[in-house]
């Protein structure tokens, strides 16, 4: 088979397609994160930990979530950072 790199013109097209797909996906994801601000979120974390909090903001690398009123098993933590590596999924209503 012919490797795609043998057709430079096709590569440019493919690159542009990929860039368009990436930016559409990223923009939509960023808008999703922005829309959660001040919403109640349920975090489902590793070790079967489930906690609720009010979402604040995410950093752009999706490493940390800044939240308020985090209901931990031992009480409410007013301000908290949650490591995204600890999170399996989270839900909210729209």
């Amino acid at each position: 088979s012919i490797p795609s790199s043998a057709v430079p013109g096709g590569n440019t097209e493919l690159l542009q397609e990929e860039q368009q797909a990436r930016s559409a996906l990223r923009e939509s994801f960023l808008r999703c994160l922005l829309s959660i601000s001040n919403k109640k979120v349920q975090f489902h974390m590793h070790e079967n930990v489930k906690v609720e909090a009010t979402f604040g903001a995410s950093d752009i690398d999706v490493l940390n979530f800044q939240v308020s009123n985090l209901h931990t098993p031992i009480g409410v933590q007013k301000e908290a950072l949650i490591r995204c590596q600890d999170v399996i999924s989270f839900t909210f209503d729209v």
């Binding site: 990436r22 930016s23 604040g56 995410s58 950093d59």
Partner: protein
Amino acid sequence: SWRSSVAPPAERPGERRAAEMRKLYGEDASKILAMEAAMQLTFERNCDLKRPKYWPVIPLKL
């Protein structure tokens, strides 16, 4: 100018990031860059104001 008398500035991180973004996002790079900048600023300002602490203290998963 006074600039010419000092050592040339190191590569500016903003420019490098813009070039990387351009490679990843093509024509939409500046739009994505602006959205990310706004979001990161909100995150950092919230952290400055609220001083959140990591929960749990020890990561669940390394």
